[in-house]
Point group: C2
Chain length 191, copies 2
Amino acid sequence: MNRVITISREFGSGGRTIGKKTAEALGIPCYDRELLEKIAKESGFDEKYIQEAGEYAPGGFLAAAFSHSATGPNNADYLWNIQYKIISQLAQEGPCVIVGRCADYILRDKADCLRVFIHADMDFRAKRIVEVYGEREQSPEQRLRDKDKRRAAYHRFYTDMKWGHAQNYDITLNSGRVGIDKCVEIIKDLY
Amino acid sequence: MNRVITISREFGSGGRTIGKKTAEALGIPCYDRELLEKIAKESGFDEKYIQEAGEYAPGGFLAAAFSHSATGPNNADYLWNIQYKIISQLAQEGPCVIVGRCADYILRDKADCLRVFIHADMDFRAKRIVEVYGEREQSPEQRLRDKDKRRAAYHRFYTDMKWGHAQNYDITLNSGRVGIDKCVEIIKDLY
């Protein structure tokens, strides 16, 4: 079984940056946006739609997802199956870092995973998302609360695991307190 | 403000050992059983009773604790006040490691804390508690589930923070996967 680093992260915590830097330092690939591209190619859906279906569809997605037992599989379930297949394949191809997309759950019996969760305080994240993603009409705090809620609900729905619960990870780090480069160093060292 | 390492831990995860070893490596004191002694001395209660009141009283303690708003302070509240005072004093005296007893919560505005949570899978902990504490009539798994439930309830009652929730800590580590000595190394390095 290949050794894989899975990174779950709160929005704005720098989890994606930590994944990229760790992969670079280890000389292994990091799948983040690349995953979206692959899922888009395989499903025929637009990348933007997939991203929103997974995390950020105002209103519609969760309601649709939660109804699947009554109405049969829907788009969200269809995407989940493709995602499941692609992540399993990537882990089989070789060591890598996978950011988000419930990879920790999908690979639980398929790879030797180092399961990481990155989080940070609201202030740190609010400052960071304005710097990285720019200003929006919505306040940064409101955007963060929305994203957190959606990611937790998505994770819970498909994995039945509590997102952010320490017991589900090998290591969790507060990137605001520890620092992004130190997080990279620790994860690299543990791998 | 002094720099303090607070270690919350699941029973059997080796959190206490990690605390002791980290303190030794850093040349600072570690308070664990010493805390019980201090609370006993200050309160006049027996150490055994204090330990059980904090974590492991079959039946009685939690019921008593949860009734305090109706009946005024009880023994558990009285002990909590003493514990609060002693932990605050220790943190004022100098850098140290404090294991358990909600020190992370008590010191949140009083010290510069590195907040650590140590956990491990059931198998690792079951094996370890039999080695360290010996066999009992109760199965190790049952003892662990009991302890986990009580610690979580105690923590929740007095701090209103979720025990084991990654967001409450700077770092959480699975000692079974990471290894006890590696945990010590990482914590020491972060401090």
